[in-house]
C-alpha cells in the first residue's frame, strides 16, 4: 500500500471500499465494468472483485436497474454500493432514487442502507454528456442524503473520502448519493502538515453519519473580509484561490467545505458569515436553482441584515464543450474566484 503521504482521493475511496468489504459481510457492489483487471472506469473499485469475488457483480448497461436492485438488496438487509459510471448517467436512476429508494424508509418503515456513488465534473474534455455536475437534481429529496467527500485527510489514514464512504456503507441506515469528482480523484489528500499556512477546524454536523464541515482561515491573518464556501473539487480550487488572495493580494477569506450537501446543515457557515457579512458560494454545476442558491437563501434567512453581500460562481448555463479551451471557459476556476472576491471586497 502507498504511504499515507502520497495517498490520493482515489486511493482513499478505494481503501474505504476495501475496508468496508472486509468489515461488513453485508456489503455488496454493483456496477458496470467494475471487475478486475479493469476495476471500473475510474478505478475506484479496483481490486475489489479479486478480493471479494462473490460480492462484486458486474452489470449490464442498466443504470436504473442497478439502482433499483440496490434498493431491493437493502430492503433485505444487505449493504449495497452501486457505481454509476459517470455522474451524467444519474438522470437514468432518478425514478429509482426519488420514487422508490428515498421513500422506502418512511413508507415501508424499514432501513434502506443504499450507497450510490458516481463521479461528476468536467475539465477532462469529455464533452457535453460526460462532464456535468448534476447533483443539484438530487438535493432536497426527502429521505436522501447527498455526500461529497473532501480531500482533507482528517484524523487518521482512513480519514477524509475513504472514511466518509466507509461510514456511509457500513453504518448508515438511509440512502446516500455519494458525489465524487473526476479531477478530485487525482488530488493528494491534505494532512494538517500540508496546511501549515491555514488554521483548520473541523465541525461535525448533527446526524448519525460523521460528515464534517471543515473551516479554513489564513494563519495569523487580519480579520477575514469574506466567507467562501465550496465542496468537492471546487473546494480545492477555492483553497488555492484563498491562498493566492492572501499572499498576493492581501485579501483574507474564510473557507467552509461541507461534505454533506443534503439535508442542509450550515451552522458553521452562518458563524463565519456573521463575522465577515459577505458570502461567495462556488460550485461546478450551473447556477440556476443550484446548491449555491440554497446556501445563500438559508444564510440570508439565518442572518437577516447580518448578511450584507452575496455572490455565486458556477458553470456557464450552456452545454460543456469538449474542446479544452472552450470547456475551461465554461467552468469556474481559480482566477474566477479571485476576480469575484476582489469585486466583492471592492479591490
Amino acid at each position: 500500500m502507498k504511504s499515507e503521504k502520497s495517498l490520493t482521493v482515489l486511493d482513499s475511496l478505494n481503501l474505504g471500499l476495501q475496508r468496508a468489504f472486509q468489515d461488513d459481510m453485508r456489503a455488496i457492489l454493483l456496477g458496470e465494468d467494475i471487475l478486475d483487471p479493469y476495476g471500473g472506469a475510474f478505478k475506484v473499485t479496483k481490486g475489489l472483485s479479486t478480493q471479494f469475488p462473490d460480492r462484486v457483480l458486474t452489470t449490464p448497461i442498466s443504470e436504473a436497474a442497478i439502482a433499483g436492485i440496490a434498493g431491493g438488496l437493502a430492503l433485505r438487509g444487505m449493504h449495497p454500493v452501486a457505481e454509476i459510471m459517470f455522474g451524467d448517467f444519474s438522470t437514468l436512476i432518478a425514478d429509482q432514487v426519488i420514487n422508490h429508494i428515498a421513500k422506502f424508509s418512511e413508507v415501508y418503515q424499514t432501513d434502506t442502507p443504499v450507497v450510490i456513488r458516481t463521479p461528476m465534473g468536467g475539465r477532462r474534455g469529455y464533452g457535453p454528456t460526460h462532464s456535468q455536475t448534476l447533483e443539484k437534481l438530487f438535493l432536497g429529496i426527502p429521505g436522501l442524503t447527498v455526500l461529497a467527500p473532501s480531500h482533507i485527510l482528517g484524523e487518521n489514514e482512513l480519514g477524509g473520502p475513504g472514511k466518509l464512504l466507509y461510514d456511509a456503507i457500513t453504518d448508515f441506515s438511509t440512502p446516500v448519493f455519494f458525489v465524487e469528482n473526476k479531477l478530485q480523484y487525482l488530488l493528494k489528500l491534505l494532512t494538517l502538515a500540508d496546511l501549515e499556512e491555514f488554521d483548520v477546524r473541523t465541525y461535525d454536523i448533527p446526524g448519525n453519519l460523521r460528515s464534517p464541515i471543515t473551516h479554513f482561515a489564513i494563519q495569523s491573518a487580519p480579520k477575514a473580509s469574506l466567507t467562501v464556501t465550496a465542496y468537492g473539487y471546487m473546494a480545492h480550487l477555492a483553497l488555492e484561490a484563498m491562498h493566492q488572495l492572501a499572499y498576493e493580494h492581501e485579501i483574507f477569506c474564510e473557507l467552509l467545505v461541507p461534505t454533506r450537501l443534503a439535508p442542509f446543515e450550515l451552522e458553521p457557515l452562518f458563524d463565519s458569515v456573521s463575522r465577515t457579512s459577505k458570502l461567495l458560494a462556488v460550485e461546478e454545476g450551473t447556477l440556476s436553482m443550484g446548491w449555491g442558491a440554497e446556501v445563500l437563501a438559508r444564510t440570508s434567512e439565518a442572518l437577516g441584515a447580518g448578511l450584507k453581500m452575496t455572490s455565486r460562481l458556477g458553470a456557464r448555463e450552456s452545454v460543456i464543450p469538449a474542446a479544452p479551451d472552450l470547456e475551461s471557459g465554461c467552468l469556474p476556476g481559480v482566477k474566477d474566484i479571485i476576480t469575484r472576491v476582489k469585486e466583492m471586497v471592492g479591490k
Binding site: 436497474a65 433499483g68 444487505m78
Partner: protein, 294 residues
C-alpha cells in the same frame, strides 16, 4: 372447510372488500383514489396460496387482492385507505404503497421490478429457500426498466416468479394499442421460461402457479406466468371507457367468484357469503372507529 369452499371464501373476501370500498367511496370516508381488483381475484389467491413463510411479494397499484390473499388484515387495509394511523402503513402509503411482513407494493409502474430483483438477489446471496413473486400488468410492459430487469433476472438466475396479469387494458388503453408483438416472446427473448394461461378459474391457475413456484424454489431460477384475465371494474374510482355491454360480457364469461362459486352448493355458498360479508362489515366498522393499529 373443504378446499373448494375455502378457495371460494378467499375469492369472495377480496370481492367483498372491493365492493364495500366502491360502495363507501362516495361517502367520503376514503380520501384520494383507489384501484380495485374486481375480476382478478383468482390470480391473487391462486398464486399466493402457494407462498412459504419467508417468501416475498411485490405488488402494484392494483394490490388489495394481493395483500388480502397474502394474509393481510382487512381492518388494517381499510384503515390505510382511510388514511388512519392504524392503517398498514400508518396512512402514509394509502392504496398503492403497502408494506406488511414480506409484502411490498408501490404505485410506480415497472420500477418495482427492480426492487423485486434486488430482493431476489439478496435471497440468492443468502442461500435461502425464499422466492419473490412480482405482479405486474400488461400496460407496464411499456416501461423500459422492465427489460433491464428481465435481462438481469435471467443472467443472474434470480429466484423470482413474475406474474403478468394481462387484463387487456391499462387505465383506458387497450393492450393492442400499447404492446407490439407477442407478450410471451418478450420474456422468451431473455431466456425466461413462460407459462401462459387464459383463464379466470382458480382451479386452472392455482396448480400451475404452484408448480412454477416450486420450480423457482427448487431450481433457483426465474419463471414467468402470464394470465389472461379481465378487469371487471373501472380503472380507479369511476373511469372506464369500455361500453357497458362489453363489461357485461366480461362479467358473464370471466367472473372468478362466480366460476368458483358454481362449484359449491347454494346453501354453502350463501353461508360463506354471509360470514364474509359480516366479517368485512365489522372490519370496516373497526377501521372507522379505531385509531390503534389493528
Amino acid at each position: 372447510m373443504h378446499k373448494n369452499a375455502s378457495m371460494y371464501e378467499k375469492l369472495y373476501t377480496i370481492r367483498q372488500f372491493e365492493i364495500l370500498l366502491i360502495e363507501k367511496f362516495p361517502t367520503g370516508i376514503f380520501p384520494g383514489t383507489t384501484h380495485t381488483s374486481l375480476g382478478q381475484e383468482a390470480n391473487a389467491v391462486g398464486v399466493l396460496s402457494h407462498l412459504d413463510a419467508g417468501d416475498i411479494v411485490v405488488s402494484n397499484h392494483r394490490g388489495h387482492g394481493h395483500f388480502l390473499a397474502y394474509g393481510g388484515d382487512p381492518r388494517a387495509l381499510f384503515a390505510e385507505l382511510m388514511g388512519k394511523p392504524s392503517g398498514v402503513c400508518g396512512g402514509i402509503g394509502g392504496s398503492q404503497h403497502l408494506h406488511w411482513r414480506n409484502f411490498y407494493s408501490s404505485g410506480i409502474q415497472g420500477g418495482t421490478l427492480a426492487m423485486a430483483s434486488g430482493m431476489a438477489l439478496a435471497e440468492k446471496e443468502a442461500g435461502s429457500q425464499n422466492i419473490v413473486v412480482d405482479f405486474m400488468g400488461d400496460g407496464t410492459l411499456g416501461e423500459g426498466i422492465v427489460y433491464e430487469c428481465l435481462n438481469i433476472i435471467s443472467l443472474w438466475g434470480l429466484p423470482i416468479l413474475i406474474v403478468l396479469e394481462n387484463n387487456h387494458i391499462a387505465q383506458t388503453t387497450q393492450v393492442e394499442k400499447a404492446v407490439a408483438g407477442s407478450i410471451p416472446e418478450r420474456f422468451e427473448a431473455f431466456g425466461l421460461p413462460v407459462e401462459h394461461i387464459d383463464s379466470s378459474d382458480i382451479l386452472e391457475i392455482s396448480p400451475r402457479a404452484g408448480r412454477l413456484m416450486g420450480e423457482v424454489r427448487a431450481q433457483k431460477e426465474p419463471r414467468v406466468l402470464i394470465i389472461e384475465t379481465a378487469r371487471l371494474g373501472t380503472h380507479s374510482k369511476g373511469d372506464d371507457t369500455r361500453t357497458p355491454q362489453e363489461i357485461e360480457l366480461l362479467w358473464q364469461a370471466r367472473d372468478p367468484v362466480a366460476i368458483q362459486g358454481a362449484r359449491l352448493l347454494k346453501e354453502e355458498r350463501d353461508r360463506i357469503n354471509l360470514q364474509v360479508e359480516e366479517k368485512l362489515q365489522s372490519a370496516l366498522k373497526y377501521a372507522m372507529e379505531n385509531e390503534e393499529a389493528a
